[in-house]
Symmetry: C2
Subunit: 467 residues, 2 copies
């Protein structure tokens, strides 16, 4: 058998001798931080002591971050790493087990660690709403491919999708609808508490986004005093962009920003909060920059590190801020300058990782304003080479994005993610020198039974290797 792991691990060496066969007696020995998750993922009973044979043993080691080692012998599987590393090693083990057609995981040793610290997926839950059950299944899928950031696009022109304790009118007035008159919805405080906990168990940070200062019609509809004339805007259910904006000069704006940024900061325990910043066509540069700097300062005051879309690189952002590039044809110069000031870069180039783009011209779902995005487009690029003039050390991550203008059902959603998300996951995790499209295509195809068994909709045609 060949080892069809996705993403490819840093180092894998098979060993002589028999592999490990899971039986009804196989027990799990694991530290508390990961034990329940490991038991559920592998379907094993916990054995507090362990007698050293027929066990899967997880030990807390000194390896940094998400690095882990995984050793398979005939009588024992051993994963060593930090809690985060153990979670990644478990994903590898789950794949090895699923791929072991004859029931035996081959004897081997893996040493593995990620190329990029941040490996994400953005889901737009505004244009069409997706709630907790779908998002938990998204998180499971992300964990299977070692992704570690779920970025939720929570506000936009068409809706406000998280409960704000200090501004309840936002969801009361602006959560019921979605694109084309579809039903809306929102994530309650309890929903987000459960979701962030579920994600944390899988080593995944949930980053919430309040998109500012554009993409804000839902706020302008719910809070009249955010409008220059003091009158609320109408509900918007179309798909145009760029027409709405908050105005820092209005007296109500700063208080509003302080409230909603503070509320979202409380609802998302991770260290980051995304403040948007994309596609603002109604402001002159000076006003835009001033707004982004104010929103970033409020975010820092709420105890979070801000993330902004690529346009925000024009602002003077605090060191440690992350800028998320999306426009394939972005000017690298402002990002290079920001990187020199200590800003990190997340790469989401639309041509490669916007998974709402059609797979090909005839595809029934998706948009094509960034062209079509085949699996090979998602796979065949090097993030460190993407932005000439930007220090490769400043590239902290890669994030796929699924905007949902045309994505209505859960099946739509997973069909756009799979197989492309697995390709992006390997871009983000595996060393460039270990990546090769010809070798990857069959490994990717070998993942399909897993998706079928787990009930993930996916696009089977996209698995056929493309020239």
């Amino acid at each position: 058998m060949s080892l069809q792991l996705v993403p490819a691990p840093t180092h894998l060496e098979t060993r002589p001798g028999d592999g490990f066969v899971f039986t009804e007696n196989t027990a799990l020995v694991a530290p508390p931080g990961v034990a329940r998750y490991a038991a559920r993922l592998l379907g094993l009973g916990l054995d507090a002591d362990g007698d050293g044979s027929d066990t899967v043993e997880l030990t807390l080691g000194a390896q940094p971050g998400e690095a882990y080692t995984l050793t398979v012998d005939a009588d024992r599987i051993h994963i060593d790493g930090s809690t985060a590393g153990l979670v990644r090693g478990l994903a590898t083990l789950a794949q090895l087990r699923a791929l072991a057609a004859d029931g035996a995981v081959p004897a081997l040793r893996i040493e593995d660690a990620p190329r990029f610290a941040r490996r994400g997926l953005m889901i737009d839950v505004v244009r069409h709403f997706f709630g907790v059950p779908t998002l938990r299944r998204v998180i499971d899928l992300m964990a299977a491919y070692k992704l570690n950031v779920l970025h939720l696009h929570l506000t936009d022109d068409q809706g406000w999708r998280f409960e704000s304790a200090s501004r309840p009118e936002l969801t009361e007035r602006s959560s019921a609808t979605a694109v084309g008159g579809a039903a809306g919805g929102y994530l309650s405080a309890a929903d987000l508490a459960g979701l962030t906990e579920y994600a944390a168990q899988r080593g995944i940070e949930v980053v919430g986004e309040i998109d500012l200062p554009g993409h804000t019609n839902a706020a302008l509809h719910a809070v009249p005093e955010l409008n220059a004339g003091g009158a609320a805007t109408e509900v918007y259910t179309g798909t145009e962009v760029g027409f709405s904006q908050l105005t820092l000069a209005l007296p109500a704006t700063t208080g509003f920003l302080t409230d909603v940024i503070g509320d979202l900061a409380s609802l998302t325990p991770g260290p980051h909060l995304h403040i948007g910043g994309d596609e603002v066509h109604t402001m002159e540069r000076e006003e835009y920059v001033e707004f982004i700097e104010a929103a970033a300062a409020l975010t820092a005051a709420a105890g979070k590190t801000p993330i902004v879309w690529g346009e925000g690189a024009a602002a003077d952002l605090p060191e440690g801020t992350l800028v998320q590039l999306w426009d394939t044809n972005s000017d690298p110069a402002p990002i290079a300058a920001a990187a020199q000031r200590g800003v990190g870069v997340i790469l989401s180039p639309a041509k490669h990782v916007y998974l709402d783009m059609k797979y090909h011209d005839e595809y029934p779902l998706g948009l094509d304003w960034a062209g079509t995005v085949g699996v090979r487009d998602s796979y065949d690029w090097d993030p460190e080479q993407y932005l000439p003039g930007v220090d490769p050390a400043a590239i902290v991550g890669v994030e796929a994005a699924l905007w949902t203008e045309t994505i209505v059902t859960e099946a739509n959603l997973f069909t756009m993610l799979l197989p492309r998300l697995a390709a992006v996951a390997e871009v983000a995790w595996s060393a460039q020198s270990d990546r090769d499209w010809e070798a990857f295509a069959p490994r990717l195809a070998a993942q399909e039974p897993f998706w079928g068994a787990a009930g993930y909709a996916h696009d089977p045609d996209a698995l056929a290797p493309v020239g």
Copy 2:
């Protein structure tokens, strides 16, 4: 009476004594280059000699460019300037005469010259087609407000609107439709010959635009070999942007560009040719820059100076090239860098001069992705202060733009232009120190009878001074 000229002249001094009264005996004395146009504009007979009284006399003087002096005495009106200056002076005289309610043009002396060398209007004849009769009326209106560049957006996803001698299939296959299934059309070689001559008589350069490398579905539909797969795309009648592109690496592309740029260069006698460059979301930066540089080189080889939309500032453009900024929130840095290399800048910031934006939120026509654009928005800005860090000397002009996604009829078109185009004309012509919104609003309102008399549709509500 007050002198309600638009745009405000550089220097105006009224004089004691009677004004000039046009009678049936008033004769015109003018040099050949401008005589026929002046006679038609003023409705006067030509008097080759002139006896020195009751005459409008135009003399060729040594003043540079479009500068002119205009003197009105009881028995003689005298305009002095180059041919271009005389045309501008005639526009002033036509306004003075139309505004002279009692029939007498007051005695005065005007010394006048433009602030910016290029003062333009772009009309998109692709999304909806407007032919020669409408464009002649547009040219007349431009001349009345001393504009000197008519930029025709001739190609886009929805149609190819000029006859290409070497590629007749472009109009044969891609000119019949427009947005939403509206009837298309195109400008034949004879149409463009007549139109450019008509414009030249009024001191107006016609600049044709072939939008490259995006906005090219009409070409991709008509010329299959421009597509990577060799198959023609479908006709497109929607209003999305950014999805189409030419590909320099395909063997057919350079020959195609050489042909169509050469053909358009022959059809437009002026020194410039616009090669587009906007809203390309399907290319990575390097491919985009390479394409723009190739298209600029082909344009130079065809004997024209290229103009590109703002994104094109990323390319290494020949000295003298003009970059036309449109995105209100543009990063000034690449434009500043290009300006230092000798590139000129045309300002078309959407928030101020995109006359396809709605006048206000409830306006039935137009788009609003750049916000609403009231008359004051069009008027109240200073082009030399617009781009921080860009040498004001690099700002060569201001250009209004009318995209026509929602503009179907000639009445639609002029309603969007008026009154805003007159405001933009003053921004481009008059000194900043002579411009003041409170003073301008009543001057602008005084223009309305002229539009009524000339049959130009306009928005009367927009003339009420806004706060």
